[in-house]
Amino acid sequence: MVTPDGEGRMPGPAPAVETRRLVKWYGGYPALRGIDLCVAPGDILALFGSNGAGKTTLLRILAGRVRPTAGTARVAGFEVGKGGDSARGAIGTLAHGHQLYETLTATENLAFAAAMLGLDRAAERIAQVLLRVGLEAAAGSSVRTFSSGMKRRLALAKLMLRECKVILLDEPYASLDLQATKLLEEFLMASKIGGAATILATHNLTMGFGVADRLAILRQGRLVFEGRRDETSLEAFRALFSLHGELGDVE
């Protein structure tokens, strides 16, 4: 098993995310073939890999959406699938699809999320997050009229409605405009300071490298590399990545 700093030292605080020999088979197809992972609170792990490497599957298992075939995963203090429904409250996700209801307005989407999350002072929180992402003017507009950048910002706003212990992001940089990218980075830093553990799965080598504390590469369901960002440089990492034959898909 790979320990957080790769040198056999026990981690300090208990990891916010921990997987042991995580396996997932979809019918006859092995999506994950035994993943050992550890992310401490306050750490940002950037997970790289091409399409089909298993990033989305891993994130969905950690989010409690998919049941693993074998192995264990502990997220925010609970074992996935065993913590009950409320355990998912501490986990925030930003998925591939923006998960917004197009015929509703921005405010209505957020109000629904707040109700589902069981949050109090919903109206106050909604106003706050809309301001933070710069969508307060479009609060009453139907999401259908939004550009893809605006939709991403709204999805981010949904994430910001409450403090999460674990944040899972699947391709967050896709279709983000400059303003939204900046917002995302600010959000990641703020969450980090707040002690949240973040796993960010992306194609985008440059952006992912920039925010990460730790780096990992997933290839065909296996973790082929895991290490600290400050022990390497972007060029070296890029070279390492191409060594694993993945560079064709990646920026």
Partner: protein, 225 residues
């Protein structure tokens, strides 16, 4: 209670989202009108025959139209990964099922409330006076159909042949319900004493109980991967 809050939130969201573009409502109303209109040609324009068969025809119209709505409701969640989003909230699966059921039930009931007068106009029947009693039959029937439909649409949503599979699974299971609803409606439309409808109401209550309990217990298994 946050459970109830979630159920209501889901139902409200479904109804609001649907009301905004009315795509599904319109399709259902148009389809219902078409079906009612076609009854005339199917039964050779014989008004007496149609009035005699009215309880059955009404429920044919209700159920066929409902299938459209049920399919559309779960379809709306599959777009943009909304279903995933829904399932990743810390919401109990039972709350999600009940919320969806409440939304579906409301939509079907509204369609029924439109079909009743439409039928009355097209086939010259006085349904207005009987409406409260008709609803006494229609509500338990609709609850059962919506309950089974919500469960099965969760099962069939991702399948290749989903448009055919939902009705193919739904109708055999709900035959006792439809049968009871038709018989109960018949009692009301004939003006017979309401006690005659009681056995059918009891049967519908039995079906509703079984389907609701079974669905609440098994829904979480259906949505996990």
């Amino acid at each position: 209670m946050s459970f109830v809050r979630r159920v209501v939130a889901i139902a409200r969201k479904d109804l609001l989202a649907e009301w905004r573009d009315r795509e599904s409502f319109s399709a259902m109303f148009f389809f219902a009108f078409l079906v009612l209109f076609l009854f005339n040609f199917a039964l050779g324009g014989d008004q007496t025959l149609i009035r005699g068969a009215s309880s059955g025809l009404l429920w044919l119209a209700f159920t066929f139209t409902s299938v459209l709505g049920l399919a559309r409701s779960i379809q709306g969640e599959l777009e943009n990964d909304c279903l995933d989003g829904l399932l990743m909230y810390p919401a109990e699966r039972e709350a999600i099922y009940l919320g969806k059921l409440l939304g579906n039930f409301t939509v079907i009931l509204v369609v029924e409330l439109v079909i009743f007068p439409l039928f009355a106009v097209l086939y010259n029947m006085d349904l207005w006076a009987r409406l409260p009693k008709l609803l006494l039959i229609a509500v338990p029937g609709t609850i059962g159909f919506a309950a089974a439909g919500t469960l099965l649409s969760a099962m069939t949503a991702g399948l290749r042949a989903r448009d055919a599979m939902l009705p193919f699974l739904l109708f055999p299971l709900t035959i006792p319900l439809i049968l009871s609803a038709v018989k109960g409606t018949e009692v009301v439309l004939r003006g017979d004493p309401f006690e005659l409808a009681m056995p059918w109401l009891k049967l519908m209550a039995a079906f509703d109980t079984v389907i609701l309990v079974a669905s609440l217990l098994t829904f979480e298994y259906l949505v996990e991967e």
